[in-house]
Symmetry: C2
Subunit: 209 residues, 2 copies
């Protein structure tokens, strides 16, 4: 009936960008209407779950017909906060940091990497695509100038805690952490961990015949 005022469950928030990605593809192929059943086929989630997820934020569909792809895309963009471009920084310009800069810039039209930061003077000053690697001392200034909202953290685990404190000090409140370390952060700071070797290990559990 109407948009929900409670905080969206984490599980729902994690699925929204997947719906968005499917809608992007559909719109590119000039599909105008999609049913929850078809979205289910594309995403692997159940149709009921998709309807519940969307209904959490409002009634976006037309009964008997389905969802208008362009309209639904606009709604999801707004819900996530991707209706305007988001500026982010990358902290740690090693192999992984560089790969993520290459990867995100090409794959993600909604997000813009404004700068990378490192402590290694051999790397500082270099450019990855059009992203410059700067010393950590410039972080406050850059975050402020570009109003950067998210930091992608790819420093070695021993430096992760110091780096995250610097990041928070600069005014950023969301961190995408690739370091295999537990970050201690104050209330209100959101950390998403992508500990790739940990995830790989849990996958190995399932390889036992």
């Amino acid at each position: 009936m109407k948009a929900n005022n409670r905080n969206a469950p984490k599980s729902v928030v994690r699925r929204l960008p997947i719906y968005l990605h499917i809608l992007d593809n559909l719109i590119e192929n000039e599909v105008e209407i999609i049913s929850s059943r078809e979205l289910s086929d594309e995403s692997g989630f159940t149709a009921e779950q998709i309807r519940k997820d969307l209904a959490f934020f409002g009634a976006f569909g037309t009964r008997g017909t389905g969802y208008n792809t362009v309209f639904l895309r606009e709604k999801i963009l707004k819900i996530i906060g991707l209706d305007k471009q988001t500026n982010i920084i990358v902290v740690g310009a090693g192999h992984l940091g560089i790969a993520l800069i290459n990867y995100n810039v090409t794959k993600n039209p909604y997000v813009n990497v404004v700068a990378a930061f490192d402590i290694d003077s051999d790397i500082i000053g270099k450019k990855i695509l059009d992203v410059e690697v700067l010393p950590m001392s410039k972080m406050n200034e850059i975050v402020n100038t570009y109003n950067a909202k998210v930091a992608v953290l790819t420093v070695p685990s021993g430096q992760a805690q110091i780096a995250v404190e610097k990041i928070i000090e600069s005014g950023i409140s969301a961190v995408f952490n690739f370091a295999p370390a537990k970050l201690r952060v104050p209330e209100g700071i959101c950390v998403e961990n992508a500990n790739l070797s940990v995830e790989l290990q849990s996958l190995i559990y399932y390889t036992k015949a």
Copy 2:
């Protein structure tokens, strides 16, 4: 009391490698005994949850004392299947594939990348550390020779489905998928998705003040 015969919940399997990582650090610092409360401080999970997770597989602790770090590490290694080294392949040797080879080889003592595969003849034949990039046609042979168990998939999304079919054909049953595409796989094949731009987008949801 005794080890459980049911399949371990996915949520538990995802936490085990995190406990393992903490134990590795503790053992390196010559800590011999650890309580669930201390593990809780290190990991951020509740002490009760940690005890339940471990108790699912057996009684590994000593009442009134805690857990022996070395003993518990051995147990977890065995549960996950990391007691013997696991061979994996990387499919797609672009920026991300190369970064993951560098990253895993250095960060993960339990896993060994035996080869990378690509379709680009400019890349084939090159080496990333000591990992050679081979043409896709060699996959069956390599997987067989090294008994590789997991494939890390980092090809562009348009090629992901074809690539995963080739991977499955070669005998691998677990795929760590970085392509932003839904893979259609038969029963019994385990796919773990790490869609980094999707995860970044869901993080942006939380940046709204």
